[in-house]
């Protein structure tokens, strides 16, 4: 007997949907994340952002950036074409 126990954790819909979206996102987003990092640095240096805030944000953004680069490398290269 062939039993499939399917349980939905989250309604993800399709993996290709997710991958297609990720691939396109990452194509655009690295620069935006880098800009956010620079802004964070600047506002901290200007004393407008507390050190705790700055660090927390920096860490979150760096994780984002790392993942974005990861995904970009693995999914976007040669697989995404945006025709204008």
């Amino acid at each position: 007997m062939f039993v499939i126990d399917d349980l939905l954790i989250r309604p993800f819909v399709g993996i290709v949907d997710a991958l297609h979206t990720l691939a396109l996102d990452e194509l655009y987003d690295i620069e935006a994340i880098e800009n956010d990092l620079k802004e964070n640095q600047l506002l901290y240096e200007l004393g407008e952002r507390s050190e705790a805030d700055y660090r927390e944000r920096k860490e979150a953004l760096e994780t984002d950036l790392e993942i974005a680069r990861d995904v970009h490398e693995e999914l976007a290269s040669g697989r995404v074409e945006v025709k204008r």
């Binding site: 499939i4 126990d5 399917d6 349980l7 993800f12 819909v13 399709g14």
Partner: protein, 113 residues
């Protein structure tokens, strides 16, 4: 199941946003009905005009309420969530039987423990 988040930390405002969202949907429905009656010619010109003024007044009221209470964003978000929820739900109804198609997870073979 999907939950719709009402407000963030501010329950009162969250409930208000929900109420406004529901009223907006209601007004949308009223407008649709009013247009239908206007186009079917069952209303006199005066009636059409009065109806239109009333709906316009309600809409203006809602808009100013949203502005004053800073509800524009939460209401938009709620409407978006509702749309998404309805779409997902329709899809689920549609394809309920083959829910395996969704990357939740699947365990093949053997007895469920």
């Amino acid at each position: 199941m999907t939950h719709i988040e009402v407000g963030e930390g501010d329950a009162e405002n969250g409930v208000l946003a929900l109420v406004v969202t529901v009223v907006e949907l209601l007004v949308d429905a009223l407008e649709r009905e009013a247009i239908r009656r206007m186009e079917s010619g069952t209303l006199t010109d005066e009636e059409v005009d009065r109806l239109g003024r009333q709906l316009a007044a309600i809409e203006a009221e809602l808009e100013s309420l949203k502005r004053d209470q800073e509800l524009e964003e939460p209401v938009d978000q709620l409407r978006g969530d509702l749309d998404g929820l309805v779409t997902d739900a329709i899809q689920r109804l549609d394809e309920d039987a083959r829910s395996v198609n969704r990357p939740g997870y699947s365990v093949f073979e053997g007895d469920a423990s």
